[in-house]
């Protein structure tokens, strides 16, 4: 199968071209030996099958960062290259184009955002550009799908440029200037409405209130829509249909005993409680599908919306000043927001930070103080029953920890904290296909990761209780848990499960019959004491073993401190 690499600068609409060219089966994976992720899909053109790779966006191929190294080697492995260039900013896109053409791979250039370039008064002589570059050039507008067919049909006849040779950096810039002078005319342009909105959202006086509203709206809609799905879809499904059916099925071959308990839990009564029974086929499925999934779907949809409209870079600019005080800069908002979905992609995204110091701070803060959506869903679901006040205490505590530890780490960690340098792309209308595909890819990733681990977690909990091991563990750890944190000794099971999955760990708290105070303390320390094992593995790869040991030490200290302090405050209040 021939391999096509889709290459281009960031923010040129590359992923929209990608989703136009590929079918449903798109997978996201890591490039071997690195943590740089890319998306891969298949496409069929004129009966020939191609593998299409969406190479991470880079401005050049000089290997100064991991992403550029990966882009460079993906170029070497490609049979055909589609270079997606932004017609509205041809000049700076041409640098990468010249690098790609210099590699002597068969190439086609997709001149994307073509309609927009017309709109803002940029005239490009495509025929002349084609002659100068020596390869086919197809004007496209990926959002509307215009030009995609032509792009596909040109693929089979892609050729190596005979006019562009490998050259030095200075020669390349000179060449860019020369080509632009020959093919591009820019007419007078006036401010569009979209540009005015763009300016309003990045100016501090208007931008900061807008940012607060955007984040609040996102938060409210995630909770609102998530709860709606649970109430009207998942709960009726589980309680009215699935529950009675699975009890019948399991009772038909295992009316009692060990197998029965492991499969559907010990509550054999008429009414099945999906949160308390702790069977593999009851709680084990109810937690990921009914309690967490609805929030995960809405979260990833909202996140994709923020990404695809181009709002995230503006948020990064607005929070930059604050994050700088914590030794980070504005770009750290991306791993933080991703971390609210799942800490694993959040940990991967910390590599957007330029220095080791910034990456360490960003990763440590996320691991300690950013609860993933699975965890948040369970906090809403279980602590929320006691009142909104307790949920707010959990998040306020985590926020204070984020700021306080950040201030501390900025002072303690050696190294540099460079400043922000970020392109702020124009607002774009998101493409619904790309949006849905993106959401689905991430939700699928969640299910593939969460379901097996939750099931394993439920199984381990059952085995701990059945074997009696739980009594030994409780006896050993109860002095710490009871005297320091004021928690019942059974909470140790939650802490053990928290290594594996946070959602199931919080789920375990429910049958323990805790007070709201105890639940609140448990939710906080379950967040801070250790990230889940999947995140931990990624963090070791990203930060190294030594740095991770330090981070782990910090987690333990923070957990003990915050547990003790919360216990004092909440039980005095």
């Amino acid at each position: 199968m021939k391999r096509i690499s889709l290459m281009g600068c960031p923010n040129v609409g590359k992923s929209v071209v990608f989703s136009r060219l590929t079918g449903v089966n798109v997978i996201s994976s890591n490039y071997p030996g690195t943590t740089v992720d890319f998306t891969k899909g298949n496409t069929c053109i004129r009966g020939e099958k191609f593998e299409l790779i969406d190479v991470p966006g880079t401005y050049s191929l000089e290997p100064t960062s991991k992403a550029e190294e990966v882009a460079q080697s993906m170029l070497q492995e490609a049979d055909v290259v589609i270079n997606v260039a932004d017609a509205t900013h041809l000049e700076r896109n041409l640098y990468l184009t010249l690098e790609i053409l210099g590699s002597k791979k068969p190439t086609i250039v997709a001149l994307n955002l073509w309609d927009e370039s017309k709109h803002i008064g940029v005239d490009i002589d495509v025929a002349k550009l084609e002659k100068l570059l020596g390869v086919a050039i197809v004007p496209t507008c990926a959002i509307s799908g215009e030009g995609i067919k032509e792009l596909a049909s040109e693929l089979c006849v892609a050729r190596v440029s005979k006019t562009i040779e490998p050259m030095s950096e200075d020669e390349r810039w000179a060449k860019v200037g020369e080509i632009i002078g020959k093919v591009q005319v820019v007419h007078h342009r006036h401010h569009t409405i979209r540009e005015r909105i763009a300016d309003i959202t990045v100016k501090p006086i208007t931008g900061i209130p807008i940012a607060i509203i955007v984040i609040l709206l996102m938060f409210i809609s995630i909770i609102g829509i998530g709860n709606w799905i649970i109430e009207h879809l998942m709960d009726p499904l589980f309680y009215n249909y699935y529950g009675p059916w699975i009890i019948d099925v399991v009772n038909s071959f295992a009316p009692e005993g060990l197998l029965h308990d492991i499969l559907i839990g010990q509550s054999t009564g008429e009414s099945l409680d999906f949160t308390q029974s702790f069977g593999l086929l009851t709680t084990g499925l109810y937690v990921p599908f009914a309690m967490v999934l609805p929030f995960v779907i809405t979260f990833y949809f909202m996140l994709s919306l923020l990404e695809d409209t181009g709002y995230l870079p503006r948020l990064a600019v607005l929070v930059d000043t604050g994050l700088h005080k914590l030794g980070l800069h504005g770009s750290a908002i991306v791993p933080t927001i991703l971390g609210f979905g799942c800490n694993v992609p959040g940990a991967l995204a910390t590599r957007v930070m330029e220095t080791k110091k910034q990456q360490f701070i960003a990763a440590t803060l996320m691991a300690i103080a950013v609860p993933c959506m699975a965890q948040s869903a369970m906090i809403f679901g279980i602590l929320g029953r006691e009142g909104l006040k307790w949920v707010l205490i959990v998040y306020a505590t985590l926020f204070v920890l984020y700021v306080f530890i950040g201030l501390l780490l900025k002072k303690l960690v050696k190294g540099e904290s460079p400043e922000l340098l970020l392109e702020v792309p124009p607002y774009r209308k998101p493409d619904s296909r790309t949006l849905l595909k993106k959401t689905w890819t991430k939700v699928y990733g969640f299910l593939a990761e969460a379901v097996p681990f939750v099931l394993l977690g439920v199984l381990i909990v059952n085995l701990l209780y059945i074997s009696g091991l739980i009594d030994i563990l409780s006896a050993v750890f109860s002095p710490i848990l009871t005297t320091l944190f004021g928690l019942p000794e059974g909470a140790i099971v939650a802490l053990i499960m928290g290594f594996l999955r946070k959602d199931i760990a919080i789920g375990i708290l429910l049958p323990l019959g805790m007070t709201p105070q105890q639940l609140t303390i448990s939710c906080v320390i379950l967040c801070t004491y250790f990230p889940c094992v999947a995140t931990f593995v990624v963090l070791i790869r990203e930060l190294g073993v030594m740095a991770m040991l330090k981070a782990t030490g910090l987690m333990i200290v923070v957990t003990v401190a915050v547990g003790v302090v919360l216990n004092l405050i909440l039980n005095v209040l």
Binding site: V317, D320, L420
Partner: protein, 84 residues
Amino acid sequence: MSDINQDREVVPLTTLLPGERAKIVALGHGAGRQRHFRTMGLMEGKIVEIVATQPARGPVVLNIEGTQIAIGRGMARRILIQKI
């Protein structure tokens, strides 16, 4: 690449006020960062405007012929311009 006008003062980018226009005359950083600047559209000879300045020594947002770039105040100080 840069065409310096002898009559006008060369000043740091941070002295530019919102609404003013200037020509970039020098990038003033190491080779690697200069390349990064240029591939983002920030290069000598281009006309630059300030879109927004974040408070408390925060970053500035530049508009360079239609491309917006957010850049830290310290980094911006080393870029030299001539007002027009």
